[in-house]
């Protein structure tokens, strides 16, 4: 399958990519790892006139802690996330999700920026970012804005990025001490998108839940932040009862549809089960 014709532009710096975006805007697509865009172009679901390849831009693949946050360059690959020591040691929700994205070969090319900009409701990283309260950095030739992930992910395959902007960095607040996280994903086989997945990030303070974030994959028109479920835990003791109640609230926040992966009833039930289990795992980790 061949995509329709396009002009190929290779950007060697962020500035060059931004000036190409200014020139071609609406008729251009950014190409990062290509693992979502190229399949769509081959099916001719999208046929941009111009591709701006940002993959060769140096310095966009950093993983570093800076000013209370983990700063991830947009070109950090899924396999880099999965093998990073900083992430394994301090960001357990992300560490749990990374090796479950796609398959090992796709993970060699797929990037975190591409994943978030693609805004697939079945994408794993959107939920991880929602549960951790991440921000994305969007740059254009006229400046930079920092957008909370919940405002960035607007709808299915739709974000609040404008055609002349580039997502350059993702910033995840460093969790406080006594934190834990989990990402539970139900899939039919390796490499499949989630039937259901639940991201949980939680911290303990004086024996009660300090902060909690819960987000759901594959059960709505976008990654869903189960805010009510998370809020129900604030200041409560980390008990099975509290986690069961949060599970019920998370299931109520989900909006799954019946498809080849399962019925809506089954998926809603799995949201409840995975939220409960994820909270228990994260809380045990936090109590460490």
């Amino acid at each position: 399958m061949l995509p329709s014709r396009f002009d190929y532009h290779r950007a060697s710096s962020v500035e060059e990519a931004l000036s190409l975006l200014d020139d071609y805007g609406e008729d251009a697509k950014v190409l990062a790892g290509g693992q979502s865009l190229i399949p769509l172009m081959k099916l001719r679901f999208v046929s941009p006139g111009h591709l701006i390849d940002i993959d060769p831009i140096p310095g966009l693949d950093g993983i570093e802690e800076r000013e209370g946050s983990l700063a991830l360059g947009a070109l950090v690959r899924h396999n880099q996330l999965a093998s990073s020591e900083i992430i394994t040691n301090g960001y357990p929700t992300l560490a749990a999700a990374a090796p479950q994205i796609a398959d090992p070969i796709v993970r060699n090319l797929g990037t975190i920026g591409g994943s978030l900009a693609h805004a697939d409701p079945a994408g794993d990283l959107g939920s991880v970012m929602l549960s951790m309260g991440a921000n994305v950095v969007l740059r254009s030739s006229s400046g930079e804005r920092v957008v909370p992930i919940g405002e960035f992910l607007v709808d299915t395959f739709t974000t609040s990025i404008t055609p002349n902007e580039l997502l350059t960095e993702i910033r995840i607040p460093t969790p406080p001490p006594r934190s834990g996280g989990s990402y539970l994903k139900l899939e039919r086989k390796v490499g499949d998108f989630a039937t259901v997945a639940v991201a949980v990030t939680l911290s303990l303070q004086d024996g009660t839940v300090g902060s909690a974030g819960i987000a759901l994959t594959g059960v709505g028109l976008k990654n869903i932040e189960a805010a009510e479920a998370a809020a129900s835990l604030h200041g409560t003791a980390p008990t099975d009862e509290a986690f069961a109640e949060a599970g019920r609230l998370a299931a109520a926040a989900s909006n799954p549809v019946t498809d080849v992966r399962g019925t809506d009833t089954y998926k809603r039930h799995m949201v409840e089960v995975y939220t409960r289990r994820g909270l228990a795992t994260a809380s045990a980790m936090a109590a460490g």
Binding site: R5, R10, I38, K42, D53, D103, I105, N108
Partner: protein, 161 residues
């Protein structure tokens, strides 16, 4: 667009349309037909090649993206002193039946052994989890990669193909 690629250790150039996928460039421009196109939808791994040593699906990358990079296909596995240990082991252990998935499987196996010379069966199963085989049931593929690891450990000098 003119691209320069180090194909299996040899500098090659080609004039390609940007929409040509790397798999087509390899097969049609460079005449190397060991790279197979199976699903054409990024699912099966039959088209796997190594880009700078890492497995990628060549049906899901444009040829122009490989410009300036090293590409290794199954034809590049054998060295001056004969077949790569992974190739020998696939033969010995009957790691193939129809052979359609085999180039991808062997390249993933070879890349794994570069990173992890002493893999467990689980490591191997994990590494090949992006490659589908419709014939073998995978048992002999895992065995073959395990056998290749042992052969490489026994004769490290011969293993640098």
């Amino acid at each position: 667009m003119e691209i320069s690629v180090t194909m299996n250790g040899t500098a090659r150039t080609a004039d390609v349309e940007p929409r040509m996928l790397l798999a087509h460039v390899i097969r049609e421009e460079f005449g190397l037909t060991g790279t197979h196109v199976g699903c054409d939808t990024t699912s099966c791994g039959a088209c796997t090649v190594l880009l700078d040593g890492s497995p990628v699906k060549s049906c899901t990358m444009f040829g122009v993206q490989a410009d300036g990079h090293e590409v290794t296909t199954v034809e590049g596995l054998a060295g001056a002193d004969g077949l790569h240990p992974v190739q020998v082991a696939f033969q010995e252990e009957h790691g193939l039946q129809c052979g359609y998935c085999t180039p991808g499987m062997m390249l993933v196996g070879a890349a794994l052994l570069e990173r992890n010379p002493d893999p467990t069966d689980d490591d191997i199963r994990w590494a090949i989890s992006g490659n589908i085989c419709r014939c073998t049931g995978y048992m002999n593929i895992v065995k073959a990669i395990q056998t290749a690891a042992k052969a490489k450990a026994a004769a490290p000098a011969a293993a640098t193909a």
